[in-house]
């Protein structure tokens, strides 16, 4: 079973995302900020990461930059899922190694089609 690490400081969002992603066959791991997420990845690199941008301690973009420098950190497919919808910031996220990008608010359909877009569903 593929694992998706859901990184978001909102417990509610993590719960919603978990339900949607479990339905399409993912095992879910959760983290509430970038540092915690990085610890997860060092222990067990997931196949996918659903990543919030604005979080305390370490934000999503910083996490992504760090992740891509880790051994095996180029492997996970990273999908941002954030209220950040400024086109320049989206470009920045893509340049830093994000594979897809979801702007909140989202629904199950958007997550599923975006995951399909990057070959995950």
């Amino acid at each position: 079973m593929k694992t998706c690490l859901v990184v978001d400081d909102s417990r509610v969002i993590r719960k919603v995302a978990r339900r949607i992603l479990e339905d399409i066959g993912f095992e879910i791991a959760e983290a509430s900020d970038g540092v915690e997420a990085l610890a997860w990845c060092r222990a067990a690199m997931p196949e996918a990461v659903l990543l919030d941008w604005h979080m305390p301690i370490m934000d999503g973009l910083e996490f992504l930059k760090q992740l891509r420098k880790e051994p095996g950190g180029d492997r996970p497919t990273v999908v941002f899922c954030t209220v950040e919808n400024n086109i320049e910031r989206i470009r920045e996220a893509l340049a830093c190694g994000a594979d897809e990008y979801i702007m909140k608010p989202f629904d199950g359909d958007i997550i599923v089609t975006k995951f399909a877009e990057v070959g995950l569903a």
Partner: protein
């Protein structure tokens, strides 16, 4: 809503545009006609239909048909047809046409997502197909849908329905709360209101027709008519794309499926276009 009223709506839609309306679906009919009634200044859907019975005003009748014909749409809907278009159909036709433009028609383009998806594919393929010339057309039954399509403005929700993020940042600009397709893409498309089951002899000749999820929305007698109409508008070497679960098999002999390519059809060489 009385059954006679629902039947009136169904008859109107079938007669004018071949559109099938299930008279059992009261809620659907009411929710589609509510906005029409409000827009036309009626207190309720009942008042709208009473007036329609009294005088068959064209504008009211078409307002109802267009609202009922409205279907869902998304960028790159079902994905595979657009990959097939990019990888096989477009390069083949580009070669075949030489310097002449490849003419592509999105029939029933609704709010434009399909035809703009094709325009983005073409734009992204230009480097690989030097000298490619394309004429792109979008048509719909509904003027209101065409207006929205021409504006090229989409909500954040709409641009996340099927549109890969790299295509969003490449081909769209932010416009307050909305996303605007770039003028370069928008200007590739010409628009026209077309009723696909009416006389299409003036519609023109095309190399590719996307007519997805129309066939399945029609009443039985109009299905063959639609396909014959499309066959007349399609060049002999042209291709027709239907929706995922739609088939031309058993509906006249205008088209034959392209083997191994789901939803893709070619003109049947034996089909003679009536003068």
């Amino acid at each position: 809503m009385r059954v006679e009223d629902r039947e009136l709506v169904a008859q109107l839609c079938a007669a004018r545009a071949g559109v099938r309306v299930d008279v059992e679906k009261t809620y659907l009919i009411e929710s589609r006609l509510g906005p029409v009634a409000r827009r036309e200044g009626f207190g309720s859907v009942n008042d709208l239909l009473t007036t329609l019975r009294a005088r068959r005003e064209d504008r009211l009748a078409w307002g109802i048909v267009e609202a009922m014909a409205h279907g869902e749409t998304a960028f790159f809907r079902d994905r595979e047809p657009f990959a097939l278009f990019r990888d096989e159909v477009l390069p083949t036709l580009a070669k075949l046409r030489g310097g002449e433009p490849v003419r592509i028609w999105s029939a029933a383009c609704a709010s434009g997502q399909e035809v703009y998806s094709l325009a983005m594919v073409i734009e992204d393929e230009r480097a690989r197909l030097p000298g490619l010339k394309v004429e792109l057309f979008g048509s719909d039954l509904s003027e209101r849908q065409l207006e929205k399509a021409q504006s090229g403005l989409y909500t954040q929700f709409e641009v996340q329905r099927g549109l890969p993020i790299r295509q969003l940042v490449r081909h769209f600009e932010q416009d307050d709360e909305m996303w605007a397709i770039s003028p370069r893409i928008r200007q590739m498309v010409r628009w026209r209101r077309i009723n696909l089951v009416a006389d299409l002899s003036t519609a023109g000749r095309f190399d590719v027709i996307f007519c997805r999820y129309v066939l399945s929305s029609l009443v039985e007698p109009m299905k063959t008519r639609l396909l014959e109409n499309l066959a007349r508008a399609l060049g002999p070497e042209g291709f027709l794309f239907l929706g995922r679960d739609e088939t031309a098999t058993g509906l006249g002999d205008a088209f034959q499926p392209v083997q191994g390519r789901t939803g893709l059809y070619a003109r049947n060489p034996a089909f003679r276009v009536a003068a």
